[in-house]
Amino acid sequence: MNDHISDLRWDRLLADELPADQRTSALAHADGCASCGARYRELLAGQGAFKLRPVQIPFAPRRSRWWWSAPIGALAAAAVLVLVVTRKPAEGERTKGADKPALLLSAGRPGALVPMMGNDAIHPGDSLQAGYTAKTDGFGAVIALDGANQVLTYVPASGDAMVALPAGTDRSFPSSTLLDDVLGKETIAIVWCEVAQPLAPFVAELRSTNTLADRDGCTIRIVVLDKAAR
């Protein structure tokens, strides 16, 4: 009925479903077809805008996460930073790597996060968000050892690869975590590294030693929180 490229085809292209030859063909068509070129750009923009959309879907049985954009997350992180700078690290908390990126942690009821320091209280149902300020691009992860002695990876949401963290001030890690009902001490490790590293060694170390040792090229912040019933 028409010679244009359907939205389905564009969606497949954007999702990397299309074979290379079909992808090339579609993009070549868009170059010569004003209507399809405009539609492609429109869908591409929509895909980008979707990443800014906060989402609250319980993806995992125990933990749920949602994503927000760096700019949106930065609003929360910025608020956190203002409060954090007025507080000194508490006992049980350490930040490794002098003159390295500043790593922040906030938690609380969704939409009302407050900065967390060592031994602060958190509660089931609270959300937890890590933030950072870094002068250079890096990679990061947030790992936790909960009261049941289980190690959980909060960031990345899946996989064994650190997430990319673009340089910036008061930025958020790309996902937030809704805390479950396991009570007790919860050790949160926020990790920033110059180059991406596999998470498995970090997870294994946190499980066996309850902490993470210094690593070249990485900045690590350990915060031990107390999760109690509300």
Binding site: M1, H4, S6, D7, D11, A15, F50, I57, A60
Partner: protein, 161 residues
Amino acid sequence: MGAGLDVEGLYRKYGHSVLRRARQILASDDEAGEILQEIFVGLVARPEQFEQRSAPSTFLYAATTNACLARLRDRKNRLRLIDEQVKPWTTDIDPRSADAALMVRGVLAQLSEEEARAAVYYHLDGMTHAEIAEVLGCSRRHVGDLLERLGDRLAARKDAS
């Protein structure tokens, strides 16, 4: 099937498409957001519904269309749509034009389930017959028959109005 389905990954990769199409079909941001939530929460609860025999895009196109049509068919929406004036139908319009989208949305709730799906794919998504056949799981010939029947029904509606 469905075990180990990476719903988070699907959401990140295809969520924008689900949301956009739901907006196109329902013409409502709020309802589109609800459809997005409904589909992915449903996948978390029942991952086996995606048997992974087709591409995720194919599955989610069908799931979104079905969810939107179901919503359009509820009583409240049906009454709202019946009150709307259906614009005169033509078959040579640009399938992706705003006029076409408005027109198709206006009559979706009054079509048979199969005709409504075909109308969405053809007039809102601008799909080819082959693509529609793939998503509907039928032959291209059947798609042609469906669209022809759809055109006849809409022409009859136009004459009657």
